[in-house]
Amino acid sequence: MKRVKVVPVGMLKNYLSETVRANPAQTVHQLLDGLGIPADLVAVVMVNGRQEPKSYLLQEGDQVKLVPLVGGGQTLVEERMLK
């Protein structure tokens, strides 16, 4: 079975520090739950270069990119007030 490649982008690396492999035959929603990534923070799910809904059922060999709400945009409030 060819596994699914999952790439986190930007601030989602706070939840998933590096690219991981995951099992197919689950939805993106289930994948996010399993990885402990809050779905609300994932703005765009790209699968093999196309945007897919979070209900998308992952296929063998899929390349998944999880794009956060804000690619960068970490600002001083996070640094000063959330630590």
């Binding site: 930007g10 765009v44 409030v77 959330l82």
Partner: protein, 608 residues
């Protein structure tokens, strides 16, 4: 002066006289450019109580020090005036190529004064500047006129136009540029129309001087490389702002049926990927942008080509009026572009009328016989035409939802979704207090671009009403509008994660003036307090009350979707304002204190 063109054009439309003035050094030092120039000029040059549509109002078109340079997205032009929609401060930023061309022609800003006796357009070709007769274009659509002017003058001319809506005084008329980009909000186009200025056409062949060419090129190189290397580049460029349509719906922030809900049961019809595959013809970039979010689309169903629909239009002329076919939204977008209407306010106005009709507050007697049901594309198209022509019900809606609620009464002001008279842009915020506070305190009225804080609500907890949320809003209100002072797009930072440090570094390289990021934020705070002071001066009794959201916020929970049942209580609204004012150094009524004005170097200028 490095990074600036050095000259401001002052155009007296009443007398047909154009004067070239040297750019004021103090202005550049204290306010950078763009929105900073506009705020300073409007505060200093407008007489108190100026009629927004009268000869005393001024239309400012301003570039920034980064405009036209090799910096990703250095193509943002500010249009500003006293707003006919709100009676307060207004600036609206438009992408494209106008500001770059203005600087190549040798001008940092245009200031339009008075009212022309007949329709004119401003022609600028380097040193050659003149007002030209424009009667033959009067009444024509924004896009049509741009096309004709390009054919007459040459493709190299960058053009800004207004449409028939602005000519007729629809208060939320926009300025259009580059066939589908708009300075959309708060009626800057309406002011242009009142001045009988149909268009601006600019071409320039000069160079923009910079202080340290090598350092500038070194940082520029890094900025472009970082943008292209961003992991978010692919999705952002493929989808633009439409990439978040489905997310907004999932989290219950997609304004639906006049903000009654934040989730639209047919939202998948508006999905970014569907739009890309079905109607997008090409990506369309602003000046110098290597991650183009503009999407040029072709609706075969309606036989039109249009830029967009981008997120706000999908939200306000899609879900908010319950249209679920992206091609219908594209056609509504096309109508707005050609008439010169702001899609955000127009979508709100139509949705408001539909809810009033749904509730029986208005009947076919007030609607010229139209059944104003949500989800009817033909009704949306018909209302857009009526608004632009100010016919029948369109004449009431042309003055904004705050006005329409006054006319129709029966409690409708509770759900006239606006702050300060400006209709709310596309985020339902009853379960996003930081976003709500952003709308309440934005200095043009309920617009998201000063602080897009809903992301913060989602990160730290949506129900929380805490000090850090007010702090976040203030921080964003300084960072994001700073880009409008620099004359450059913020989305490379927001969407691609381009480090903010680049901007201070490249600004230093091109201007030769060393400013830290904190120095720059201080300038942005100065501008923010100055626009607040403008409101205080221009609006009798201005204060806390003007920062309130529509009463629906606390009276009525969200009716469906993931945020169903949520609302922000009146107490929490007050708490948000208390925290915000205290952190800003403003008094309990939201007026900047003398100490704050002194700290910002505004105490001589501002007497409140």
């Amino acid at each position: 002066m490095n990074a600036y063109a050095g000259t401001v054009l002052r155009v007296d439309l009443a007398r047909g006289k154009i004067t070239k003035e040297s750019l004021n050094l103090e202005l550049a030092r204290g306010y950078l450019g763009g929105r900073g120039f506009a705020a300073s000029i409007l505060y200093q040059e407008l007489e108190k109580g100026t009629d927004p549509l009268g000869p005393g109002n001024k239309l400012i078109v301003a570039t920034g020090p980064l405009s036209g340079l090799l910096i990703p997205g250095a193509g943002k032009t500010t249009f500003a005036a006293k707003s006919p929609a709100t009676g307060g401060y207004a600036d609206s930023s438009v992408g494209g190529h106008l500001c770059a061309e203005m600087k190549y022609a040798g001008y940092d800003a245009f200031i339009f004064e008075g009212i022309s006796p007949q329709p004119v357009y401003l022609f600028v070709d380097d040193e050659e500047v003149e007002l030209r007769e424009a009667s033959r274009y009067w009444g024509q659509g924004s896009i049509s006129v741009e096309k004709v002017l390009k054919e007459e003058l040459g493709e190299e001319f960058q053009i800004a136009t207004i449409g028939p809506a602005a000519e007729r005084g629809v208060v939320y008329s926009c300025v259009s540029h580059d066939f589908g980009r708009q300075a959309g909000r708060a009626g800057v186009g309406t002011v242009m129309g009142a001045k009988r200025l149909k268009a601006i056409a600019v071409r320039g062949t000069k160079s923009i001087p910079v202080a340290d060419l090598d350092e500038y090129r070194r940082i520029s190189r890094q900025m472009y490389d970082a943008c292209r290397a961003s992991e978010a580049w692919e999705s952002w460029t493929r989808l633009g702002t439409s990439g978040v349509n489905m997310w907004s719906d999932e989290v219950g922030s997609f304004p639906t049926r006049n903000f009654q809900s934040g989730a639209f049961e047919k939202a998948e019809g508006l999905a970014g990927e569907l739009m890309r595959e079905r109607i997008v013809v090409t990506d369309k970039a602003c000046f110098g942008c290597s991650s183009p979010c503009g999407k040029w689309s072709h609706s075969k169903k309606h036989g039109v080509r249009v830029e967009g629909p981008e997120y706000e239009t999908a939200a306000l002329l899609g879900a908010n009026v319950a249209l679920s076919d992206i091609e219908d939204v594209a056609y509504a977008n096309y109508l707005c572009d050609e008439y010169g209407l702001d899609t955000i306010s127009a979508g709100n106005a139509i949705a408001f009328a539909m809810e009033c009709f749904e509730k029986g507050i208005i009947t076919t007697e007030e609607t010229d016989g139209l059944e104003l049901n949500f989800g009817q594309a033909k009704v949306v198209f018909a209302l857009l035409e009526k608004i632009a022509k100010r016919e029948g019900i369109g004449d009431i809606l042309a003055q904004g939802v705050k006005h329409a609620a006054r006319v129709w009464g029966k409690g409708s002001s509770d759900f006239a979704v606006q702050v300060k008279g400006l209709e709310m842009s596309g985020y339902e915020s009853r379960n996003a207090p930081a976003m709500l506070l952003s709308y309440m305190t934005a200095d043009v009225g309920a617009h998201h671009n000063r602080s897009w804080a809903i992301t913060y609500d989602l990160e730290v907890g949506r129900d929380k009403v805490t000090e850090d949320k007010a702090a976040k809003v203030i921080e964003l209100q300084h960072i994001r509008p700073l880009f409008d002072c620099l004359g450059c797009c913020r989305l490379q930072w927001v969407e691609l994660g381009l480090d903010l440090g680049y901007y201070a570094a490249v600004l230093k390289a091109v201007t030769g003036v060393d400013r830290s990021w904190d120095d720059l934020l201080k300038i942005s705070e100065r501008v923010w307090n100055l626009t607040r002071a403008f409101w205080v001066r221009e609006v009798e009794g201005f204060g806390r009350e003007w920062d309130y959201p529509p009463a629906r916020t606390w009276k009525e929970p969200v009716i469906s979707g993931p945020t169903k049942g949520k609302f922000v209580s009146r107490e929490d609204v007050e708490k948000l304002l208390d925290m915000y004012y205290a952190q800003r150094g403003w008094d309990k009524n939201g007026i900047p204190t003398r100490e704050k004005l002194e700290e910002l170097g505004l105490s001589d200028l501002v007497k409140i």
